[in-house]
Amino acid sequence: MSFPILSLMVAIPTIAAAVCLFSGAQAARVIALAATLINLVLGIMLWTHYEIGGPQWQFTEHLDLFGRFAWALGIDGIALLLIVLSVFLMPICIGASWVALEKRVPEYMAAFLLMETLMIGVFSAQDLFLFYIFFEAGLIPMYLIIGIWGGAERIYASYKFFLYTLLGSVVMLIAMLWMAQAAGSTDIPTLMAYDFPVKAQTWLFLAFFASFAVKMPMWPVHTWLPDAHVQAPTAGSVILAGVLLKMGGYGFIRFSLPMFPEASAQLMWLVMGLSMIAVVVTSLIALVQNDMKKLIAYSSVAHMAFVTIGLFAFNRQGIEGALMVMLSHGLVSGALFLCVGVIYDRLHTREIARYGGLATNMPYYALFFLLFTMGSVGLPGTSGFVGEFLSLVGAYHASSWVAFVATTGIILGAAYMLYLYRRVAYGPLTKEDVAAMPDLSLREWALLAPIAAAVLWMGVYPESFLAPMRGDVGALMARLAHAAPAGDAHVTIDRAAPPTAHASGEAH
């Protein structure tokens, strides 16, 4: 076993969280920032040392600590990028709460550091039950973050978040117990290669679906998300949208698709149907929102539907597109929540109608906000385009109707985002208190600029992000090959030039 870098990344925030609880407000801020920055450095090291085209599972650790299950960590390219996304967003979250948050700072920082521990744990767990423990444990700090530091309706939102997600997950636990007994192993890579009986797969798929659909969230079990987002503090929303929502998509990729390929194919239309409804319905709901955070929350549901559409297209473009949407949405929606936070800190309202004309007195803010709006819309050159385009291509291969419906989501997405931007940034600057708002401070620059750079990087040169995942998507494709349903689009270009390892790289 080589240097246990993943264990270290799990341990650092845990220890820092414990130290935070016993320190003062300013010390807690510094400790939290230092710990998250160290983890960011470790995350970058992870990325640079990750061997593309090497073994599927890298940085593996295995320690039989608990008898029934093991402390087993390890990552593939998909987990790698999600971990990098988490450690990238964490220092930004800490920075976002640097001055805005004055109440009970040590506990707040400790809760965030614990979240980081659990997120890294979820993405790197190689043991079924270790995964479950990390997956579920996130409920406790998130419950406290929403409930203590949230807005007016925080208590209702925190209960809803907790109980909704708990109900989904306990059902999954029973399925996991069954799987561990049927396969005689709790090792995730082993289970990914194990052929469960087709009849059982349907039940298992539905049990996992109950959990991941809530986490994702998919229509119609998405209703906890707008409540939780609106009431959570800015940094809480960033983490919720940026990373926690990815746990659902990650679950589909890691568990549902490779472990139950036949059931996934059978129930493809369940997922596709719900996703199609979600794209259209939640986009329309977003169009009529008065609250900025609620609008972005509904747009998250719509974007997550692109993830499920891509995943269940059963082809390379779809799956890679879904992964890119996940990464891009993590950056863009996180950044949009930060943008809302910036003006919320100044005016203490999220009501869209209270703003207007910000482009006049806050030009730099308007610039960043515009970039992230475009990222959300999916303008070519931003990260949003790559993912949505690829997953729509994948969907078109699978079913042209799905692609048709999903594409309306792009149009609606442009509508609600541009409408939001017009109301906030353009128009006459008539309100006095709005006109008095200063432009971005140095701290806010430091928060938004890295995300903006990442959004452009992912939009202009997505290969950096696709390359580490290519081999793992290939492995997933091989696993799904015998079950994949035939698509209705008979794309001749596929026959002329059969897909090679580089086909998708050239597609954009």
């Binding site: 419950y143 925080r154 029973i174």
Partner: protein
């Protein structure tokens, strides 16, 4: 087996009963002023009794012609019982001193009750079972009304006595039916007789016995006494009721179910499944409206007993081991919660029991709030806290025998329970601070809270190999 060899098997009970009599003499002549010394004497006796399990008493086989069994199952349960009883003794003097009712009988009654519980878990015969049960119960009735000048305490004692007597009657009726149809009261004899099939009369006997024992572990539908008695009894006594007798009752139920009626598993499984589901649902729903923390914890114990019963419903060695693990973790969580309740005292030093008084505790007493939050999340079975692990094991045992639909329903009921545990956390962390409690005055209680909180924290997972091996060895003794 000679009488001396048999007596050697009962070493823990000998130590406790002779010690209790000696301490009773000390109390009678020394007066209540010696209560603290007597309490520590009782703790020493529990330690000695626990250590004696290392000898033949721990795994020596059966004595007194099968009336008494000293196997590793009994040893596991006894260790839990002694720990819980010792903690109940340690925390009492401070509580009673504040209300001016410090009396030397308390540790002695707990000792006698522990002797009864030792007999219960070691019983190999319906009659030694009954004698142990009654010894435990009689001490418990007195303990419930220990603050005799307090109306609620007296009411609790009377209520407990009347309903307990009724349950004992039901149990005895079941035993007599079984004796009538099988011709023996020995567990091994009953098991042999049932192997050839179960007659209607025997089935009636089984049902009555289960009903009587369900009362002792307060499983629904025989739970009605629990909230009233828990609320009325002095808090240290409630802590005791919620921990040690539950372990004894559960162990006894498992021994009877598996050793005496193992061949009739399919017959009694329905009873256990019903009691388990009803307990988890009712324990979850009825707790939601409670405003008194002790009543709430009473429903919480009903809820948790329901989950523990799922392990027995599996009817396998794994299931029994899971239930024993459940009881071990449950004892730590419950004692920890009641230790926190003991810290709830108004400025005048008198106990406060409303949940509303916990408001904003995280700001007035952050450590206490964190500990209670850990216990609540753990009782709800949320990972990474250790309370998740026993739930995991019982449902694993159910899934192993193919009862996954039941496991699915059972685990879904845990979401109902999660709601009221969250309510406590919400009161402590989200609400504005209420009047602060009196400052902590006992380092010992603080230490015990820390210890139990650490055990149910994620650090507890390191105990899994040890706990798993011990509970499995215990369960194998029954099969």
């Amino acid at each position: 087996m000679s009488i001396t060899a048999s007596l050697a098997l009962t070493m823990p009970e000998m130590i406790l009963s002779l010690g209790a009599m000696a301490l009773l003499m000390v109390a009678a002549f020394g007066g209540d002023g010696l209560t603290r010394a007597i309490s520590w004497g009782a703790v020493a006796l529990f330690a000695a009794a626990g250590l004696s399990l290392l000898g033949p008493a721990g795994n020596g086989g059966s004595g007194f012609e099968g009336l008494y069994l000293a196997d590793s199952f009994a040893a596991f349960a006894k260790i839990l019982i002694y720990i819980a009883a010792a903690v109940s003794v340690i925390i009492a003097p401070g509580f009673f001193a504040r209300s001016g009712q410090l009396r030397a009988e308390y540790p002695i009654l707990i000792l006698l009750s522990a002797v009864g519980m030792g007999m219960m878990v070691s019983a190999g015969d319906m009659l030694s079972l009954y004698v142990g049960l009654e010894l435990q119960s009689l001490s418990a009735y007195v303990l419930a009304s220990f603050m005799r000048r307090d109306m609620r305490s007296a009411e609790a004692g009377l209520k407990y006595f009347v309903l307990g007597a009724l349950a004992s009657g039901i149990l005895l009726y079941g035993i007599s039916l079984l004796y009538g149809f099988t011709g023996t009261t020995l567990f091994s004899g009953i098991a042999r007789s049932l192997e050839t099939g179960i007659s209607t009369g025997e089935l009636f006997g089984i049902v009555f016995i289960f009903a009587g024992l369900a009362f002792k572990i307060s499983a629904v539908p025989f739970h009605m006494w629990t909230p009233d008695v828990y609320e009325g009894a002095p808090t240290p006594v409630t802590a005791f009721f919620a921990s040690a007798p539950k372990v004894a009752g559960m162990a006894l139920l498992m021994r009877v179910a598996v050793m005496a009626m193992g061949s009739g598993t399919d017959s009694w499984r329905q009873i256990v499944v019903f009691a388990a589901l009803a307990s988890t649902i009712l324990g979850g729903v009825a707790a939601i409206g409670q405003s008194n923390i002790k009543r709430l914890l009473a429903y919480s114990s009903i809820n948790n007993v329901g989950f523990a019963l799922f392990g027995l419903a599996a009817g396998t060695a794994e299931g029994v081991a899971a239930t024993m693990t459940y009881m071990a973790v449950y004892v730590a969580m419950t004692l920890g919660s009641f230790l926190c309740v003991l810290q709830m005292r108004g400025a005048d030093g008198q106990p406060v029991e409303t949940i509303a008084s916990l408001s904003g505790l995280s700001r007035t007493r952050p450590a206490l709030a964190a500990a209670l939050a850990i216990f609540m999340f753990s009782l709800a079975g949320i990972p990474p806290l250790f309370g998740f692990w026993p739930k995991f094991l019982v449902f694993d045992a159910l899934v192993a025998i193919g009862l996954w639909p039941l496991a699915m329903i059972g685990i879904a009921t845990s979401v109902i329970g999660a709601f009221y545990y969250l309510k406590i956390v919400k009161t402590m962390y989200f609400d504005e601070p209420a009047e602060a409690y009196a400052a902590a005055d006992s380092k010992l209680e603080g230490g015990l809270i820390t210890l139990s909180a650490l055990f149910v924290s994620p650090l507890g997972y390191f105990a899994i190999p040890l706990l798993g091996a011990a509970s499995m060895a215990a369960a194998r003794a029954l099969f």
